[in-house]
């Protein structure tokens, strides 16, 4: 029989945007409090999140979560999907008590184990053995129980010969394995996993997924946030779709994933204009669709593997006969940095576009641009589409019409396992050293 293990009751979470007071200075805080006191105005009470129509408030606050009601039974394996910034991680942090909700209350039955980042709580100076005890205690496991399950944990992590080596000398893969092994063996009633399974090799990932599904069979509740939709589909028995801090859909994983992918706002890899009224158009052309897909994959996708060529297709209808049409795309990253610009002109194309410079008879056209594999970094990119009679002349412009995420498959992580965060692109280049 399943019982309710998680209950969220009208939970809201408000964050302050920007750097204001993030590393606040005491003097400033005192000064602003004195000013407030002199003016006799009480501290601004957060307006209820349900009243607020938008996520962002004027005074620099932001509703990361709005009116979340959620009830989860024991034995449920729930996947949480949604685009970046939808509030998935905040939700997990509230469930694991790291973050206190601004309004509402959260109820949890039993012990909660959270795995929000790999190796959290590992101390680099301590040995693997010492870290198992420390990490187990952090996750709420009594020492006696850790001692009892110690061999099992070590066997699962496959690190027996490194037990008495400080964790600072571990490879990242070993640290991940040890961290997951501790978390999975502490037998939490609720296990919360955020995107950690994207590291580690394939075999270990399969092992982790197997363990998670086994825990679910034992009647434990598991919550997973992942961009790996196939893992969500295979493992989860229920999925929740989040958008702009709200739960917008809840149900069987297949249908939720379908909804997530087809939703143009969710970055599902395509943007279509069904009716002619709303479609962006100029006197010569009307935009019909912009689609991103991986090379060799037919379905549009909001997420492309880093080692796969990315195809950007622009569908448009030529309205006036024999119009000259040149299609251009601009790509920017999340910070707004301008990554590149390209047009279908012969000198800008690997092979000349047969339609370039030619008069287009009325009808439907599709211009495709291929962005090479191993070129972009693993971040989100935004595509703007520009159409004009010739290169450099724009009669139709759609800013950030579509976004896609480049997924790191680890092809460039054989030797270097650290962060790639920072560079706008991550091209694979030709290197050669010779002795002179």
């Amino acid at each position: 029989m399943s019982i309710e293990t998680i209950h969220l009751d009208k939970v809201c979470k408000r964050f302050r945007l920007g750097t204001a007071n993030e590393y606040g200075r005491l003097t400033e805080a005192i000064a602003s409090n004195v000013v407030k006191w002199l003016r006799q105005s009480p501290a601004p009470k957060p307006s209820s999140c349900s009243d607020s129509p938008t996520q962002q408030l004027e005074d620099g606050w932001f509703w990361a979560l709005r009116d979340i009601d959620l009830s989860i039974q024991s034995g449920d394996i729930v996947g949480i999907v949604g685009r970046n910034g939808a509030g998935k991680s905040t939700l997990l942090k509230i469930l694991s008590r790291i973050v206190t909700p601004t309004q509402g209350r959260v109820g949890v039955r039993g012990r909660v184990g959270s795995l929000l980042e790999v190796g959290t709580g590992f101390h680099p100076e301590l040995t693997g053995r010492e870290n198992v005890f420390l990490n187990g205690a952090l996750l709420g496991m009594p020492r006696a129980e850790i001692r009892r399950r110690f061999d099992e944990i070590v066997a699962f992590a496959e690190i027996d010969s490194f037990l008495d080596t400080p964790v600072k000398r571990y490879s990242s893969g070993m640290a991940v394995r040890l961290a997951f092994a501790v978390a999975a063996h502490l037998e939490p009633d609720v296990l919360i996993i955020d995107e950690v399974l994207s590291v580690g090799d394939q075999a270990f990932q399969r092992k982790c997924l197997g363990k998670a599904s086994q825990l679910g069979d034992q009647g434990r509740t598991i919550l997973i946030v992942s961009h790996n939709l196939s893992a969500v589909a295979n493992l989860c028995r229920r999925a929740v779709l989040m958008q702009n801090g709200k739960i917008v859909a809840d149900g069987a994983p297949e249908s939720i994933i379908e909804q997530y992918l087809s939703d143009s706002q969710s970055g599902g890899g395509q943007r279509r204009w069904e009716d002619d009224e709303s479609a962006p158009s100029s006197s010569e052309v009307r935009l019909q669709a912009v689609v991103v897909r991986g090379n060799g994959i037919d379905a549009p996708t909001g997420e492309v593997d880093i080692d796969r060529e990315i195809v950007v297709a622009v569908d448009y209808k030529v309205l006036s006969n024999n119009a000259k049409v040149s299609v251009q795309i601009q790509v920017k990253d999340e910070t707004g940095a301008y990554v590149f610009w390209s047009a279908n002109a012969p000198s800008m194309s690997v092979s000349p576009d047969p339609w370039f410079g030619k008069p287009h008879p009325r009808g439907l056209y599709r211009s495709e641009c291929r962005i090479p594999a191993n070129f972009l970094n693993d971040t989100r990119y935004f595509i703007s589409v520009l159409i004009g009679p010739e290169v450099g002349v724009t009669s139709l412009r759609q800013e950030s019409v579509l976004s896609f995420l480049v997924h790191d498959t680890g092809v460039m992580r054989q030797e270097y396992t650290g962060s790639w965060h920072g560079p706008v692109i991550r091209p694979r280049l030709d290197w050669k050293t010779q002795s002179l």
């Binding site: 309710e4 293990t5 209950h7 939970v11 964050f15 302050r16 007071n21 993030e22 590393y23 606040g24 200075r25 005491l26 003097t27 805080a29 942090k93 694991s96 008590r97 790291i98 973050v99 206190t100 909700p101 601004t102 309004q103 509402g104 209350r105 959260v106 109820g107 949890v108 039955r109 909660v112 959270s114 929000l116 980042e117 959290t120 709580g121 101390h123 100076e125 301590l126 010492e130 005890f133 420390l134 205690a137 952090l138 996750l139 709420g140 009594p142 020492r143």
Partner: protein, 276 residues
């Protein structure tokens, strides 16, 4: 099902949670101990060396200056050693606890546990050092021929507990304030330097009686550190007892700091992961 959400309570709930998670407190304490003496040659001897060095430095300083900073009827060495041990407890717990939340923020923002455990683990470490260091009083008293007052020496334990309680209140304030305002960490060293001379660490209160009028001594003794050090010397070596007004004030201040610290910590804890 256990519910939680925004709360305005006084923070006593944190104490029961700390008790429930005492094994984690022990793990943190063990971790701090293990890390402190890793890649250190002299090892645990540092715990003994620090107060001895402090004692020798001030003994040397005052003998060169030709002043008696101690009490008129007790040797200077045990006087300054008692002071140094207490000061080490206060200063190292303040120093380590102030940074405890900030230095551990990568965990604080990823795993939930009662955050009070982190500063408390620093205090536990300092207490451990204090207890080990206290053993030094035995040879020092013996070598200087100091007569131990056997009838009151057991009172040293509740007096030390008082000092530790005061430290607990202070570090609850310091650690959470530092998580929000890093100024605290920068200001602390100066305040500690001042505090060392405002408390009878390297001198005995007796020396102050000449400077401070009896009328103002109670104000000096309102500082719980001053009172606790004075009481410890009284209990062990029979120096004069601090004034009763001073003790009452110090006790009231200790209670105030502890209770307000607990309540403030809970208040700050609710925004900790957002602000740290």
């Amino acid at each position: 099902m256990q519910y939680y959400g925004p709360t305005d309570s006084f923070g006593f709930g944190q104490l029961s949670e700390v008790w429930r998670m005492r094994e984690l407190l022990y793990s943190f304490f063990l971790r701090d101990l293990l890390i402190r003496y890793r890649q250190v040659v002299v090892g645990v001897l540092w715990v003994l060396l620090q107060p001895i060095m402090g004692m020798l430095i001030f003994m040397g300083l005052f003998s060169v200056l030709g002043t008696n900073a101690g009490s008129s009827n007790v040797a200077y060495a045990p006087i300054v050693l008692t002071g140094m041990l207490c000061w080490q407890l206060v200063s190292s717990s303040f120093r380590d606890a102030t940074g405890s939340l900030v230095n551990y923020r990568h965990v604080v923002t990823k795993i939930y546990f009662p955050r009070l455990l982190l500063p408390l683990a620093s205090l536990l470490c300092a207490t451990f050092d204090f207890l080990i260091g206290s053993l030094l009083l035995i040879p020092v008293c013996w070598m200087t021929g100091t007569a131990v007052v056997w009838s009151t020496v057991w009172l040293a334990i509740p007096i030390a507990a008082w000092l530790i309680l005061f430290c607990a209140g202070c570090i609850a304030w310091l650690s959470s304030l530092n998580a929000h305002y890093r100024d605290v960490g920068y200001a602390l060293p100066f305040v500690m330097q001042l505090g060392m001379f405002l408390s009878p660490i390297v001198y005995d209160v007796e020396r102050l009686r000449h400077v401070l009028n009896e009328k103002w001594l109670w104000l000096y003794e309102a500082n719980p550190i001053a009172t606790c050090v004075g009481l410890l010397r009284w209990a062990i070596m029979g120096t004069p007892l601090p004034s009763s007004i001073g003790m009452a004030l110090a006790a009231a201040i200790t209670a105030l700091v502890f209770l307000s610290g607990l309540s403030w910590f809970q208040h700050a804890d609710q925004q900790l992961a957002d602000r740290i």
